[in-house]
Every structure is written in structure tokens, then in C-alpha cells.
């Protein structure tokens, strides 16, 4: 059997309570005693049984998740995953609050962060808009000792404890590399459809995409970036306009949301010349466009993994534990029509094991 608190107590010649004080860094122990106990811990190779500790504490973790409202499919998928986690709350000892704020609205986000802080959760996860105001609100959480992590989109400079999301520069580079290779020698410029330069993930993707095209595929022109604010209607208008202005477009990289509009524009297009399209996030829309050959590749981040990872990391931070970094790395999934996972065009039945 591995050593327990009793063994420490015996080895150090003190009581359980004192051992507990040392283990949990509680005050009220003479430094000589503390040292004695610490040496005993070291000597017998004690490892705390977290499950037993949580049992004794009847620990529950109140967490708050903040994400953008609106009909962005990816964000709604993220919300679905959070709700799935809420259903697991009893088993996982969590109590999750879900808050939504208008997209790209810095002040609303700041208010939401401050309101959440007032409830003193054990941790908070937020899809960040990259602004000093938001960073300051996150800083206040940090000041109050509340672990805060960014989800999907990070802050450039902040005191957040962790980022649960993909490497967006790498995603942009990957898109660039695929675009360049898929196009081969086919002539024509490429156009980038972004959501907003206010969010860091979009900026990073753009930079990565640009860098690879310029370095590895010189001669391929990139048209001025279209900013569609993740809005399908606006995206459709912008893309349709681009086709009119540049009938020779060879490729489109959609690095934000609003892909419904992009797909509509692609369907409306009355030309035979093929366009290579790379988009982000596997949703019902991009999935069917991929199958139909309207989209060539989709880069995806697994919202379920992100939510589960966020919860694991928040728990670890709340307990001052280390995280398994390899387990928490969110992958950039690349989907072609050939490796689409199980079909969830039909929504999963209620209460299943997702």
C-alpha cells in the first residue's frame, strides 16, 4: 500500500491535523514542526489521494463559461458541448454556469466577466475578444485568485492561466500550404474571408496563411481581406462581389464563421472554373459542402475536446495541480470529404453518450 497521512503522522511524530495543515499550507504550525513533517513526507514518498480529499471536502467546482451569443454554428456547437458537460455535473462534481454576450462587444464582455467574478466561481473560461479592457477584467479575476482560461480565441497579453484552443498561426499556415499545393500551377489570385480583426484567432490565421503563401508559393496573389463579421448575409455579399470583381479567383480561404453565406455564394456562382475553398470549423453546413465538393478542406477544432480540456485544466488550477500538457493540446483537425467522422447531420439522440 502506498503511504497515507497516518504514515506521515507516525513518521513525523505528530497528529493527523498537523499533517493536514502542512499538506494544505494552512497556517498555525511552528516552522520546526513543519519541517519535520515535510521531511517525513519526502522520506516515505507520500502521494496525496485526490479522490479521497475531494470526498472528505464534498468538493464541487463552480465554473463559469462565457461565450458569444448569435447564430454562429461553431459557437452554438460549443454551447452544446458545455450543456453536455453540465449534464455530467453530478459525476464530475462541477456546477457550471453558462453566460452569453453579444459577439465582438468588448464592454458587454467586460461586464459579464465582472459579474461572474462577483459570484466567486472556482474557475472561469471565456471566448475572448482581444482587447485591453477584457484583459484588465481577466486581470481582476487573477487578482482575486480565480483561475481564468481563454477558450477558442486568446488574449494577446493577459494574466490568463491557460489557453484552450488551437495554434491559430499553424492553422493559417496549414491552410496556406494546402491551398498552394491544391492549386498547383492553376493561375489566379486567392481571397481571404475573415470575421473580424478584433479577435486574435482570426488575426493569427491570416498571418500564418500570408506567410506560407509568400514564402512557398510566390506569384500567388492575395486579394485584400474581406471582413464579414461572422455574418452569413454579409459574407455572401462580399464573396459574390469578389467573384464579380475578380472572375479569375482560384481560391478562397474562409478563416472565420458565416460559412453559410460563403456556400450560398459558391452555389450561385455561374462559372465552370474550379475554385479551391478551405474553411474553418466542421458544422452541418461545411460538412455537406465538403461532401458536395464545394469545399475542399475544413480545418476544425474539436469543441468537445476544448470543453472537456477546459474543465480538466480549471480543476487542476483550482487545486494547484499540474496538467498533462500533452493531453490538453487541442489539435488542428483537417477534414477532406474522405475522412469525415460519424455523420451528425441528424442530431444525436437525446441523452446518448456524447
Amino acid at each position: 500500500m502506498r503511504p497515507t497521512v497516518h504514515d506521515i503522522a507516525a513518521a513525523a511524530g505528530v497528529s493527523l491535523a498537523t499533517v493536514d495543515r502542512v499538506l494544505n499550507l494552512r497556517p498555525g504550525v511552528r516552522s520546526a514542526t513543519r519541517e519535520k513533517v515535510e521531511q517525513a513526507i519526502e522520506r516515505i514518498g507520500y502521494i496525496r489521494d485526490v479522490a479521497a480529499a475531494n470526498l472528505a471536502k464534498s468538493r464541487v467546482y463552480p465554473f463559469t463559461f462565457i461565450l458569444p451569443s448569435g447564430d454562429n454554428s461553431f459557437m452554438r456547437g460549443l454551447e452544446t458541448e458545455i450543456r453536455a458537460a453540465m449534464r455530467r455535473s453530478a459525476v464530475e462534481r462541477t456546477a457550471i454556469s453558462l453566460v452569453t454576450v453579444p459577439p465582438f462587444d468588448v464592454e458587454a464582455l467586460e461586464r459579464a466577466l465582472d459579474d461572474a467574478r462577483a459570484t466567486r466561481p472556482a474557475g472561469l473560461a471565456v471566448v475572448a475578444v482581444d482587447s485591453p479592457i477584457v484583459a484588465a477584467a481577466v486581470g481582476r479575476l487573477h487578482r482575486d485568485g480565480i483561475p481564468a482560461i481563454t477558450l477558442v480565441s486568446d488574449l494577446s497579453v493577459s494574466t490568463r492561466d491557460h489557453f484552450a484552443g488551437i495554434d491559430n498561426s499553424a492553422a493559417g499556415r496549414t491552410a496556406g500550404s494546402l491551398m498552394g499545393r491544391f492549386l498547383g500551377t492553376r493561375p489566379g489570385p486567392v481571397v481571404v474571408l475573415a470575421g473580424s480583426m478584433l479577435v486574435r484567432d482570426h488575426r493569427d490565421r491570416l498571418a500564418g496563411f500570408r506567410a506560407v503563401l509568400e514564402a512557398d508559393f510566390p506569384g500567388r496573389t492575395i486579394l485584400p481581406v474581406l471582413e464579414g463579421h461572422d455574418d452569413p448575409a454579409e459574407a455572401e455579399r462580399l464573396v459574390t462581389g469578389a467573384f464579380v470583381g475578380h472572375p479569375d479567383i482560384a481560391g478562397i480561404y474562409s478563416l472565420g464563421a458565416g460559412n453559410r453565406g460563403l456556400i450560398a455564394a459558391l452555389k450561385m456562382r455561374r462559372t465552370e472554373a474550379p475554385v479551391c475553398v478551405i474553411a474553418h470549423e466542421l458544422t452541418a453546413h461545411t460538412r455537406s459542402a465538403l461532401k458536395d465538393g464545394l469545399i475542399d478542406a475544413v480545418l476544425n477544432q474539436d469543441a468537445g475536446h476544448e470543453v472537456r480540456s477546459a474543465i480538466r485544466v480549471l480543476k487542476a488550477k483550482a487545486d494547484g495541480q499540474a496538467v498533462l500538457s500533452a493531453q490538453e493540446r487541442i489539435r488542428i483537425d483537417i477534414f477532406l470529404k474522405d475522412n469525415l467522422p460519424f455523420d451528425d447531420a441528424a442530431p444525436a439522440p437525446e441523452g446518448d453518450d456524447i
Copy 2:
């Protein structure tokens, strides 16, 4: 607070022991009593606290992992991950035994399975060679009530409880699709380098690759498959021979191991004509070849994820619990030189958080 066994006992008007007997399907309860308790459980919505149960039982999970010996980089990486899991044993309440057997050796694998069974582990994971003999040995585990899962390579027909690995057909299709698109209009045949048709993952990849090339890229010839038995020297010889016999080769799909040999052959080649190379498994060798442009894409399965997933699933099976299927789906990672994760050319320092 969520209901506990005490609440059940009170609601049913019986003692804790009786509740426990019903909960754990133990004998010695009158069916009338049993029914009373079951109704109480249903009525108050009881959910068992697995952590508390494990604490009371001082539960440890003895698991056995069986994998091929030899210098196959991927398998050694898998072993590294298993050893990392062994180091986490104290925390995760596991006791993992690691057994290696010569690759592609059906009889040795059968013996290892039977030997492992004799130790009566709580679960077993095996990198399977696809043979009825192996399937029968797995069947004996099943008969004895020992959960058994296949790892990396599955059995075609068996009573294994789970497969922890990628969808190899999809992987092959993906390779085919990438190959076809990367090559574009470049002429020339493609060659497939496999390990052995005795393992199911290799067969599945080949079938998927073939299917896509034939359907979506007709006119692209596939040369007869080279079988290198995952041996670098043999692979090098075969690939070099192919280059001599077919100087116009446009692409190579290496769907097994032995990539060191492939890379050596590529380096030796004295032609300027580009060859599109797609391989499996990110190792030190394929990583550097990817960086150098010798390999265009690497399809990878995350060995760490597979091992962690195997352990989670085995625990769940041992406890008769459900698994989060979304969490256990092993992804097909696609790496280009542009989205390589952290560099582990230098082995990670001992005892780090991997």
C-alpha cells in the same frame, strides 16, 4: 446534495448492507426486498459516487498491455507512453504490466495472451495480428470475463470489447485524396509501401487508398504493392528497386513502418523529378524528413491519446460503466511541415509532465 446510499436505505426502509447488495447485484436478498430497494433508487434518482466506491474498495486496476518488440519507432513511442502511464499508476490506481512479443508472430502473441490471462488482470490491451488464433485467445479472455481491447491494429472478427485506434480505411482514403490533389496533373504512377498484409490496419489503409485513387483520380496507376515488413533495410531495398524499375514514379504512399529505409532511398535517389511522399506516424525520422521536404504529409495517430484512452476504457469496462465515445475517438492527425507540434527531436526530459 445528491442522494446517497443512506437515502436509499431510509427510503426503502432497509439497511445499508441490503442497499449495497442490490446495488452490486450480490445474492442473498429476497426479491421483494430487492424490488423495494430498486424502486427507491429509481425514485430518488441515485447516482453512485465511483470515487467513494473505489476508495472503500481500495481499488487498483491490474492491466496488461501487449505490443510488438523490435525497433519500430512508432511501437517504441507507444511503449514510452505506456511507461508514462505506469509512472502515473499511483495516482490513477492502476498496476500496468507491459509485455512485448516478436512482430507478426501469431503463436507468440497467442502464448502472451494466455499467459496474461492466467494472471487475471482487470483488463488487457493488445496490438493485434489479425488471425483467428489471436481472436480465439481474445475469446478466452472474454469467456473469463476479462475486458480486452485492441490497440492500433484491430481484429476482423472477435469478441474484443473496444478498439483504441484510428479508422484506417479513412486514413487510406485521406492519403489517396491528398496524393491525388498534390499530384494534380503531374504524370506517373504511384507506389505503395506496406508492412504486412497480416495486420488489419495495413490492409484497411491500402483498400481506402486504392478506392479513392480509382474513383476520384482515374488514370493514376498504382504499381504492385511492396511489402517491407516494417523493416528499414528491406524498405530501402524495395523502394530503390522501384525507382530503378519505374524512373517515372510520381508518388509514394508508405502505409506501414520502416520509414527510415524509405527516407534513405529518397535521399539516395539522383533525379530532379519531384516525388510526392505520404507516410504514417510522426517519429523523429518522419518529422525531419517532413521539414526537409522529403516527405509531403504524415498521417499520425497520437500514441499518448491511444494509451490514455485505452486505460479509461478498460477502467470503464471493468466497472461496467459507459464510455464517452466522443472522447475516445482517436483522430487521424495530418501533419504538413507547417503544422508540426512542439519539437521532440530531443527526447523530453525525464519525469516531465508528459
